[in-house]
């Protein structure tokens, strides 16, 4: 499996490249009124308004730093029916991984999955379809691609 690695705060994370649509530099986002704090804004992407979630906010409780490595990973959820953007730091590495192991998985954070066992920092795999709360799900339904 080819995985894209990145960080949210100090936590190393990874995502399967099969779910990644495109990696974009951090661009200016439209503010999403009345959205949860983790949703930093809306990204116009391929004719849709894609919500962007700050993973740093979710994991470390702080906004992502404004560095060159901080990028938006556009992923597809619901079998490619919708997009969701993930704002993360140090988005710069691609790794080939053959082995995964289960880690301690919190029931409240079902969007975090197994660890990549054959990588030095053993990053946890992110499942974007589990990521959004119900409120954001409804937001998607209002904006089909």
């Amino acid at each position: 499996m080819l995985a894209l690695t990145f960080r949210a705060g100090e936590t190393p994370l990874a995502i399967d490249t099969q779910l990644v649509v495109e990696v974009l530099p951090r661009v200016t986002l439209q503010k999403a009124a009345l959205a949860p704090e983790a949703v930093v804004g809306l990204l116009p992407f391929r004719g849709t308004l894609t919500p962007v979630v700050d993973l740093c906010w979710l994991v470390a409780g702080r906004s992502a730093r404004g560095q060159l490595g901080t990028r938006i990973i556009v992923t597809q959820v619901d079998s490619g029916a919708r997009y969701v953007g993930l704002l993360a730091e140090d988005v710069s590495e691609l790794v080939d991984s053959r082995d995964t192991i289960l880690g301690l998985n919190n029931l409240d954070h079902t969007w975090l999955g197994e660890h990549l066992a054959d990588q030095p920092e053993m990053p946890m795999i992110v499942h974007p379809s589990e990521l959004l709360p119900d409120a954001l799900q409804r937001l998607f339904e209002a904006n089909p691609p």
Partner: protein, 551 residues
């Protein structure tokens, strides 16, 4: 206090009592007099009794009854001498009647009674007298008894008319008298009442007066006693007495106030005198101490003067030695001037070297500034390279993702994308190194600039210092030159000094004489101070007899 009060008040009361008694006696006498002389009073009764007696015993002149009786007597008389005596008597009666008639005409007021008395009764009487004189007397003298009886008849008719009128007059007079008596009685009664009221009023006024007199006497004597008490205590030297303030503006109040003021000012005076005597005492003591010190000083002064004279001789000797030393010094100062000139020329060379150093430092500073600018440009280029590398990394990631999605067909492209990403990473690392190096260089340049600046500043201050030192050398040279002139002056001064020392020795001898005289005067002064102290002691004892209350 009670003794004084009783004195004044009792004297006043006695006066009032005497006055009241005298007044009562006077009132009683007045009443008695009035009572005695009143109408129907004892005197009046006596006088009236006398009048009545006279009226009863004497024949009334205005009543012609006696003339009528004489005419009746004449008719039967035969003796011619008796006849002429009776006629004579009758003539006298007529004269008396007319005289009294004139009196009553003047005395009586115009009234019915006067009419009756002076007109009615008088007319009848005058008729009576005329008939008697014209008819009756001639008939009697002619011894014509018939004619005489006829005339007598006529005369009797006139007499009757007269008597009638006189009776009426009597009645009227009685009535009038009774009326006057009543009026007099009433008047006197009224007067007595007035007298009684007046007496009561006077007694009341006197009582009020007595009360007022007693009251003012009491207050007056109380205050006078207070004043005398205060004055007595002041006389004994007790000045603590406070005189209560008097609100009464009368003489006693003013006296009280004056005594109070006097006591207060006396107290102030004594206090001041007391303080002054204490100060005087201490001053006298100081005087004594000071004069004793002075005496000692003067004695010491004599000894000192002798020492000074000896010292002055030594000074004269020393100044001679000093003269020799000064000449040696003069030679040394000439050498100093030469050395200072050599130093000044050396400094001029140093000055020019310093100027060149300052210029070099400025040039170095400018070059370092240029280097700093270059470094800033390098930083800009490095930033651009960093951005490009980042962009390349992003592109390679996306390319790799796309290649992965393409599966087997994208495999070659995936390798290529990976290679590109590696290059981009290497570029990023290189730019990071460059950035680090440039930063170090910038720090070094900054430190160099600071160092150079500091060096330039030091050079500049060095130049200033060299200038100052040069100036000081100049001053030294000029001063050393003037020194030799001064040395001459000093030599001259030394000579006058040894001369002056001799003069001082003479003056010291005179001073010694003066000191002896001063010592004698001081002893006299001491005696005078002792006298002053004795006098002050006496003054203090006298003053201590006054009590002031605040000590």
């Amino acid at each position: 206090m009670s003794r004084g009060e009783s004195q004044l008040a009792s004297r006043l009361s006695m006066f009032v009592l005497v006055f009241l008694t005298l007044y009562a006696v006077f009132a009683f006498v007045a009443w008695r007099t009035l009572d005695q002389v009143r109408v129907k009073g004892p005197y009046y009764t006596e006088i009236m009794l006398g009048n009545e007696l006279i009226a009863d015993v004497l024949p009334p002149p205005q009543y012609i009854i006696e003339s009528y009786l004489l005419t009746l007597q004449l008719i039967d008389e035969r003796d011619p001498s008796e006849i002429s005596r009776l006629i004579e008597e009758g003539n006298e009666l007529r004269v008396t009647y007319e005289a009294r008639q004139e009196y009553w005409k003047r005395a009586l007021d115009d009234s019915t009674m006067k009419d009756l008395m002076t007109v009615t009764a008088s007319r009848a009487a005058m008729e009576f007298f005329r008939i008697r004189d014209d008819v009756y007397i001639p008939a009697i003298r002619a011894d014509d008894r018939v004619a005489a009886r006829a005339a007598l008849d006529q005369m009797r008719q006139r007499y009757e008319a007269h008597r009638y009128a006189i009776d009426e007059v009597w009645e009227l007079a009685e009535t009038r008298n009774a009326d006057y008596e009543k009026r007099a009685d009433a008047l006197i009664g009224e007067q007595i009442r007035t007298l009684v009221i007046l007496a009561i009023g006077v007694v009341l006024v006197v009582v009020v007066m007595a009360w007022f007199a007693r009251r003012s006497a009491q207050s007056l004597s109380a205050r006078v006693l207070l004043v005398s008490d205060v004055a007595g205590r002041v006389a004994q030297g007790d000045l603590t007495t406070e005189v209560p303030p008097s609100d009464a503006g009368d003489e006693a109040g003013r006296l009280l106030g004056a005594i109070g003021g006097m006591t207060q000012s006396l107290r102030g005076l004594v206090t001041r005198v007391k303080q002054a005597s204490v100060e005087l005492m201490s001053t006298a003591t100081e005087f004594a101490a000071t004069s004793r010190q002075q005496e000692a000083t003067v004695q010491g002064f004599g000894a000192s003067t002798n020492e000074i004279a000896a010292a002055v001789k030594q000074i004269a000797a020393t100044s001679q030695e000093l003269l020799a030393t000064m000449e040696g010094l003069n030679a040394v100062s000439g050498q100093t001037a030469d050395l200072a000139e050599a130093g000044q020329s050396g400094l001029s060379n140093l000055d020019s070297t310093m100027d060149r150093l300052a210029q070099a430092a400025n040039a170095m500073s400018a070059r370092l500034a240029a280097i700093r600018e270059e470094a800033a440009e390098i930083t800009g280029v490095v930033t651009t390279i960093s951005k490009v590398a980042d962009q390349t990394n992003l592109l390679s990631i996306n390319a790799a993702i796309e290649a992965e999605k393409a599966g087997e067909q994208g495999l070659g492209f995936l390798v290529l994308a990976r290679e590109i990403r590696r290059l981009a990473d290497q570029t990023a690392v290189a730019t990071l190194d460059i950035e680090q190096m440039v930063k170090q260089m910038q720090t070094a340049v900054s430190a160099g600039v600071m160092e150079i600046d500091r060096f330039a500043e030091e050079v500049r201050s060095g130049v200033g210092t060299v200038d100052r030192v040069g100036g000081q050398f100049g001053q030294i040279i000029s001063q050393v030159k003037t020194l030799s002139e001064r040395f001459d002056t000093v030599n001259h001064g030394m000579r006058s000094q040894s001369q002056g020392a001799r003069q001082i020795g003479e003056a010291m001898g005179q001073l010694l004489d003066g000191a002896r005289q001063t010592s004698v005067s001081l002893r006299e002064f001491n005696a005078a101070t002792e006298g002053l102290r004795d006098a002050v002691t006496v003054l203090k004892t006298e003053i201590a007899k006054f009590k002031l209350g605040n000590d």
